[in-house]
Amino acid sequence: MPTGPFPSYKGSVHILVVEDEQKMAKALQEGLEADDYSVRLAHTGEEGFYLIQAQSFDLVILDVMLPGHDGFEILATLRRRNVQTPVLLLTSRDAIEDRVRGLDTGADDYLVKPFAFPELLARTRVLLRRGKPDVSQRLKLADLEMDVPQRSVVRGPHQIDLTAREFDLLEYLFANKGRVVSREMLARDIWKETARQTPIDNVIDAQIVRLRRKLDGQFDRKLLHTVRGVGFVLREEDES
């Protein structure tokens, strides 16, 4: 954790994490730094507020449950002072009222604890490149090629027939190439399931199994990998 007033940053994107739980804060910092962000930690709302005033950040990740002034108060004060830095709220309550309150107060997004880390990274990316989505027409990984407008998938010389859902799934994995996507992300973005208690995980697992069969079944080089306990990733080499 940088302690001096002028910490040295690795990356050019600066993220402030306001989180009072030490373990959580450390995990967030390490996870974000592993994704090449510069992270500054604040352990109280006051400290976070001071830091935002003192220097500019590209994103603030703000825990709601903080000692003293809570996340809602900090956020409200920031917005009143016309600080427009994107804010991602972390909350352990997912009552709809809390979400609405968060968004009303001026949060750009919220994430309910416990969340999957890939989800946090995905939301972070979305918030940082807001307004400029990169839509690729032709996607490529090793000998796998995907032509989105033509809705065709080719691996080496072989044409691969995918159902609509499998196609969407693969496109999503391509968009997150090299990064792990969690089941929650797939449930929300591909299956459009908002309720977390549907038995959707079984469905996702089965769908992945089928996609993998078509994609990797007859090839030695596997591209679609399962990261146990976290999710799935599309990449050339299996890291484990």
């Binding site: 997912d94 009552a95 416990p114 859902r165 089941r183 299956w191 399931e193 908002t194 309720a195 977390r196 208690q197 549907t198 038995p199 959707i200 995980d201 079984n202 469905v203 089965a206 769908q207 199994v209 089928r210 990261v227 146990r228 306990g229 976290v230 484990s240």
Partner: protein, 464 residues
Amino acid sequence: MRLHVRHLRTRLTLWYVAMLAALLILAWGSTCALLFFQLRNQLDRFAIEEIETVEGLFFFTPEGHLEMREDYHNHPQSKDVIDRFVEVRSPEGAVLFRNQRLGARSLGGVPFASEGVGGYSERSAHLSDGTRVRLVSRLHSLDGRRLLIRLAHSEEPLYSGMEDWLAASLLVLPLVLAAAGLAGYALARRALSPIERMARRAQEITPEKLHARLPDDGADDELGQLARVFNDTLARLEQAFDQLRRFTSDASHELRTPLAMIRSVGEVGLQKDGGRAEYRDIVGSMLEEVNRLTSLIDNLLTISRADSGYIQLHRTVVPVMALAREAAGLLEVLMEEKSLRLVLEGDGQAQVAVDRLFLRQALVNILHNAVKYSPPGETISVRVRNGDAGQVIVEIQDNGPGIPLEDQARVFDRFYRVDKARWRESGGAGLGLSIAKWAVEAHGGSIRLESPPNHGCTFRLALG
């Protein structure tokens, strides 16, 4: 509580006494007034009669003085009994005669314009010494001269009688009211004593002693009904508390299972001197349990919100068949993996006003249950039809092993699983059907299970 009852008793008594006092005063006042006016009327009649008598007794002496003959009494002392005041004036107001009893006092003063003309004028007046009198006047002719004869009786005895009575009443009324108050208080106390007993008993009922009930003598009066209503409420509360206790203890057990696994896998993993791949596997395995915990807690939160009535339904008109198709579509890949066949049949037009998300969840949960327990290659059928009274009936039937009769009543219980050993591979915590049941019942619908031996399970939902 008891203080309040006492207050009520006092309030009742006070009301009672106040109303009695008001009624007594009203009755007493009107009686007084009636009596007073009757007596005064009587005085007037006496006066008129006496004017008639007195008229004939006047004569002018040769000197021209007006005199009144008073020698008609058989007994001279009778004269003293007559307490009338007599005054005669000329129409112009000159005093012509005053009787002995009146003496020098003026009776009625200067005549007014029409006094005594064409009949009798009655009025109340004061003598010059302040005596209140009832005065009757009459214009009379004697020897060609016009005389205004005034005759009055004192009203003083009338007033003093009234005053005596008022004094007596003021003395008696508080006594009557006090007696009535005491009687009323005793009555109120008697009437309210069962409530006080109930209150004492109710005070002893705590969450730990919810089995206690109020005394109910079976009487069909208000208090008996109160006791029964209260006891019914207690019974429902007791049931709810029992359910909650069971739920809490079940939930703790369910949470403990994944926790135990996380702990064991972590501890054993630390003892090993494994490589990177092995550690990844250990952490991954722990994360799997974390995911299980997370989804369990999400489900518990849903249930707790449902229990607290916190969830609001947003009803829209939903075509049931389309919703069932959508729910089945979500699970399609699972069915294909097991080569299950899905048959959707029935009324495609049937629709019902429900919260779409919750009904969908119910259908998904029941279908998922059917998929889990169907042997490969079997058929799952969904039938939609219109039932009685505008209801829509949905039947979801599988050809799985069915549910033994002794377990059928409990399939909708939370955490209940027919096959306890199998739940981890099929990934359920035994909450799906209980959530489905809640969702259907929250809409005022009902859900039933039929599972005749060797015929799989049929869940029948009646909606709307």
